[in-house]
Amino acid sequence: MNTSINEVAALARKAARGAGYSWSMADEAAFATAWLCRNGLNGAVLLAEHLNLTHEHGIQESKLQSLELPWRGGPVGLCALSAGATLSDLAQCEHQQSETLNQIITPELLLPFLAYVSQRAQKKLNDDSLCIKTLIVCERFEAHIHCMNGVAGLNKFSATSATTAASSGKRSQFCDLNYQYQFTSHTPQKVREVSVSHRINIPANELESLNRFAANTYAPATEASRQGAGAGNTDND
């Protein structure tokens, strides 16, 4: 189904809640999904994969345990939404040039949060001529996020061979991820505008999966609820 970004974000929020996240964390799922879709990755497909995994093992089993380094989740890995939200919370802190996060579940979902971190870092530098490049490498993909003029976008994304094994079910459910920042100066002429997508196609399987989770947030209709919604069936004037 071809959807708007608002639509996919609303579905992501409901699906994450329906899979067992709090509404607060469901907001993070919606944020991440929408960002990925705008940047040309299918956030809906990635979220469906993530929710299927984390729901199966229990949401609490993969949440970030504490700020103590190295960050840890649970026996099934570390939830990318949980780690990402905390990365984003700490965006204003001093950052190491290079960091590794271990056993991240669906690491693509970290990209939106890393993009936000680079935006905050650039704002802190207060120098628009500096471009911050975030290079992200993990078993599943290699990605570059460029932040210029206060806006961070996905500049490069290439799936590795591990990703292509997904269809045969061989893809590991989590992997270590390294990210590092590079600061380069750029001139305005060299700024490559990151294209923004406004639509996303959700394949039938993933749509069904997200809708199934979302349905957990809907209360079964009762006669009382129907009566409560409006003034009655004969409200014509």
């Binding site: 708007s4 639509e7 964390m25 907001d27 970030l64 406004h198 209360a219 009382a224 609820s225 919604a229």
Partner: protein
């Protein structure tokens, strides 16, 4: 703001309908009707195109045959008299065919990024037949009947912002960088309803022509002008105010700043006072025509009529030599009038001062909240302080009581629409929507009190990710001090119609007629000039009926 205050707001110069009609007149938008293919049974389609500087948008309207027994006011309906989409540009024949397959289905269909809104409307059973029959027999309908109802058709939903496949608001603004025409909140929805009103007038004339043949006459222009488009709004709209605190803050701030600017005028001239005096008289007529069977609104209406009389008397006696004339009036209103009356007079006070206040309309959208995320480096103490600033009042609520927790917002499986249930009577809690920010703030404060004040809030949120929303809202308070409703949105005595009224008043709606505590009928654009009549002289004060 409290729910009582929000539920008493009135339209003003900054309301979105009035912003739009002023803009359309100022920029001399051109309107055309390239298609009107409706048969003698009233079935077919029409296209209305608005040309604005930098682009075009077209209402694609479908008229259907709907048996009376299927005509329902409720959102759970599946068929309507008319259905609509607002198309970005001018639709091709293929576009119209595509829309014909989907728009009549409404929620069960799909529209595309070329569409900006999706909506539908039903006839007023009371008025439609009366008007068609009268016109078909060569008579104008009774003016009183038109005044009593106020509209020939009533919409039950106007969906925008990417719903059911439509273009996102962000996409619209991205594509239209050359023009800020749809930057104002709900601008596409307001344009949709404006064009629907034109179609409905044309459709009633067409129906009369088909019925009466040579005997039929057209609806008199001045009678037609008094008709608006009805709107029935239920709980679907209520969560919006809670979910968009920054946007709502910007609306309230714009209105409050406008009032403040007018109150700060040291000297006024006689024409300004006369303008308010005249419009107050027209407001009295509007209030006389405003009918409601709801006891809460009936009481408020009686008070409002009384207030307008008192204000009229005050204005006629007040000396023009008074410095800060409007400020004096405002203070007098606070001491002598009901909340409805205070808000109504505050709106009227702004009327002579377009140059002073209309520019504030550019500050009523929200371009930043989507870029704001939690600052986890704040201390527990700092966030606690922010939460207490926003929700300190809620510490006095007895959250353990059944009354304070009586309600539960949820989404029904049946229609995927927000609803409000009784928490202690139905098994709804596991489906609860996060629409009780005051309760959630107090819960967060309780947990925060167990933490060391000097810790970073990020650390707290690792342990309590469920409080991220409360923390985010607390931090938003720094940029949106009017964003939070200072009342309990799940209290036994809470009236959802107060939430609806607040939003609808910013649209520019009048004649609020609650049908229950969670369902309100209104009228949009009554008195507004039609496209072919619109000019700089009639683009603004049309909202007040002529005496």
């Amino acid at each position: 703001m409290t729910l009582n205050r929000l539920g008493s707001l009135h339209q003003c110069r900054l309301s979105f309908m009035r912003q739009l009609t002023r803009r359309m007149a100022k920029e001399q938008w051109q309107f055309s009707r390239p298609h009107f293919n409706v048969n003698s049974q009233g079935v077919g389609y029409a296209v209305y195109t608005a040309s604005y500087p930098g682009g075009k948008a077209s209402l694609v309207a479908f008229a259907h045959e709907l048996p009376d027994e299927l005509r329902s006011d409720r959102v759970i309906a599946e068929q309507w008299d008319t259905t609509f989409a607002l198309f970005n540009g001018v639709p091709s024949v293929a576009d119209i065919e595509r829309l014909q397959q989907n728009v009549p289905l409404q929620e069960a269909g799909r529209i595309s990024e070329s569409e900006l809104t999706l909506s539908r409307a039903n006839r007023s059973v009371r008025l439609w037949n009366h008007v068609v029959d009268a016109l078909a027999s060569g008579q104008q309908p009774e003016a009183e009947a038109l005044h009593d109802v106020g509209y020939l058709m009533r919409t039950t939903a106007v969906y925008g912002s990417g719903k059911f496949g439509a273009a996102d608001r962000e996409q619209l603004n991205h594509n239209l960088e050359q023009s800020d025409v749809f930057k104002a909140p709900f601008a596409v929805e307001m344009l949709t309803v404006y064009l629907i009103r034109t179609f409905v007038r044309d459709l009633v004339n067409h129906a009369a022509q088909c019925k009466g043949g040579d005997n039929a006459i057209q609806l008199d222009a001045s009678l037609a002008r008094e008709l608006g488009i009805g709107n029935s709004t239920g709980l679907g709209m209520a969560p919006f105010l809670i979910n968009h605190p920054v946007l709502v803050n910007n609306w309230i701030v714009a209105r409050e700043e406008a009032i403040s600017r007018v109150r700060s005028l040291e000297h006024i001239d006689a024409t300004d006072r006369q303008c308010v005096f005249d419009l107050l008289e027209r407001m009295q007529l509007l209030t006389d025509r405003w009918q409601s069977n709801h006891p809460v609104q009936q009481t408020k209406l009686i008070a409002l009529k009384n207030d307008l009389n008192k204000a009229q008397s005050y204005l006629s006696k007040a000396s023009m030599d008074t410095t800060f004339f409007w400020n004096e009036l405002f203070n007098w209103c606070e001491e002598n009038l009901s909340t409805e009356g205070q808000e109504c007079i505050a709106s009227l006070m702004l009327e002579p001062y377009g140059e002073l206040v209309d520019g504030l309309s550019h500050c009523m959208d929200d371009p930043i909240s989507h870029t704001l995320r939690i600052d986890g480096t704040q201390t527990v103490q700092a966030v606690t302080s922010l939460l207490e600033t926003s929700f300190g009042w809620a510490k006095d609520v007895d959250w353990a009581s059944d009354e304070a927790n009586a309600r539960c917002w949820y989404v029904s499986e049946e229609k995927l629409e927000p609803r409000l249930g009784e928490r202690h009577e139905e098994p709804l809690e596991e489906y609860e929507q996060p629409l009780a920010p005051a309760r959630d703030a107090i819960t967060a404060l309780t947990d925060l009190n167990r933490w060391d004040d000097s810790k970073r809030i990020a650390e707290f949120l690792v342990a309590h990710p469920e409080h991220r929303r409360a923390v985010q809202r607390a931090q938003w308070h720094r940029i949106a001090p009017y964003g939070e409703i200072r009342d309990n949105t799940i209290d036994a005595a809470m009236l959802p119609i107060d939430l609806l009224r607040a939003k609808l008043s910013f649209f520019g709606a009048t004649r609020f007629d609650p049908r229950s505590d969670r369902w309100v009928r209104i009228c949009l654009y009554p008195g507004a000039p039609y496209p072919e009549e619109l000019n700089a002289n009639n683009a603004d004060h049309w909202i007040y009926p002529n005496v």
